[in-house]
Symmetry: D2
């Protein structure tokens, strides 16, 4: 099994600049992330861009598509900003049929306390190896197909759906763990 | 999709006791892990035990089996020590056929810098939702069936195999990321 | 020895809001900071404000002065934004003569990787107990009197001086450690 | 002002070995600690040893003394194990009169969550610059002279005293922060 990790930026990879107090980009954190994860399958990292997904133009999304098409690997994880993850998935979805592509990202940057980044990256690296060819989004411990996902910005989670949840329907809040009685302790 | 997380201890959940300098167990870290992962599917946590897997007896492994059999969920992640993860998987493997059970753990405790714990937990939560029913081990970004996995203690990684690698064959070392030329930056 | 810790905000106490991607303020981190520091002398925490020091008005600085004057403790640490730390120190310096007041802060928020916050806080808690009464700034492992300190925003460090370093004189860069031959290893 | 940092090991600098699960020593963390602290005064690092202080012999303590005597700096911070910090301080105390030497360490290793290491290091770097020549211990946000300090192993804190607290007198527990009403929020 060989995996390709494509970095495009996003909150996941943001870096705090102490001189101006701005969260922007420096080098990707993914080399460190991959190293600490102790991944023994082949995992090639390709940094396509380091952008906030709100700043992505169609040309940027086309670069992501091109990188996927050029890849020899059949399993690809794309680290991407959450705000327009869907939009890039929509560029790939109708086109890429021969590979399993899993988009993921983070609500809290990898370098900030309590980040979901490493969990999401692990989750995506897993399901990229097991899902059938197609384009997916993996966030909040949930797998979505590219055409059935939307970001609920109010709740800060991803949900099934084709459009933004404009109605007041109750969003899925991040779950707290429900401890249940076990067989011992 | 509903998930059950079963905690049994292991390096993943070890806690440094500052009064005696020993790495042992206090409360499981899994409630915090689940919360920071922002999991929106139902994820019930059950603490069956908090043991170093070198200290697990057959009765402890039977408790894990019993917890799996009693679970209503079809997808289960078991956080377990790495030293005898295989042994417990061997207790479940021949018996549990109607659920997807994924063992994972960590080489470095969750509370220590550079831990692989959160990556492994995310990976396992993902593949538990996609693998067909059966018993698996997920470590090092790799999926193993319960009957084809062994821990290479010298290299600190899991490999395919039915027995410990007593020979001097070259173990799979954790990969560093191989950066490749991308389509932009 | 009793200490008072006065929180006013600043980069030290900033918190990442995952819903809008902004670094702002939630609860102060200082209760956790004090707890993990295992401080056995009496250390009373007072949250006067949680402001970016660029947003501080004269009324805000007067509140800090009032808190210092009202305090029964003779040793006070003030956690403050670095951008106008000097300005608040200038309000206290000519007036407070009977207490040792030490301003500190951080260039990187406490909750972000590689933060200087905890080092600075420890440093300030130490020198607040040993310096003679007066008003000081403690940043970059250096002690400054309130009337001889300025923030070099280009280099991101504090230096001696009465005005901002408008000239091109070489700023003091944060030192890397110089390892020297020891008597053993 | 120039500072010398002398590393001798201790819990502060312990490192988790993932292959055998043991907390031992690898390279000192102090280069990283000094770098993230953004120290602008000269701070020379000397690694004299990396030992658990329970394993220190008289010869090891003599090495520490020799390093202090050879140092050109007048302010020295010694990072040392807490269990026999007093014993080494007792070797230096009667002898070193022309420098300010401050011993510190940690109850929780620097690389483990909630460590007091960085706070203690900052505290010591501060008071090393302000205390009169002599030998001191700085732990728990408290300054002790070398001849009036003892480690209360039951409570995991340092206290004034010349002998271990064999009696059942109530030890000083690490304080939680007492929040008091402030002049604003």
């Amino acid at each position: 099994m060989t995996l390709r990790i494509i970095a495009t930026g996003g909150t996941f990879d943001k870096h705090y600049n102490e001189l101006n107090g701005v969260l922007g980009f420096a080098d990707s954190h993914l080399p460190d992330v991959i190293k600490r994860s102790r991944i023994t399958i082949s995992a090639a990292l390709e940094v396509v861009s380091l952008l906030d997904s709100l700043d992505m133009q169609d040309a940027d999304r086309q670069k992501v598509l091109a990188a996927c098409q050029a890849a020899s690997e059949k399993a690809i994880v794309i680290v991407h900003g959450t705000d327009t993850m869907r939009e890039t998935a929509e560029v790939l979805g109708p086109v890429v049929k021969d590979k399993t592509i899993v988009f993921t990202g983070a609500m809290i940057p990898y370098e900030i306390a309590n980040s979901d980044a490493l969990f999401n990256f692990g989750f995506a690296c897993g399901v990229a190896q097991t899902l059938p060819p197609g384009v997916y989004v993996a966030m909040n411990g949930t797998i979505f197909t590219w055409d059935n996902v939307t970001k609920n910005k109010t709740a800060g989670v991803f949900q099934h759906g084709a459009v933004s949840p404009a109605s007041a329907e109750k969003p899925e809040e991040p779950a707290t763990s429900d401890e249940v009685a076990g067989s011992g302790s």
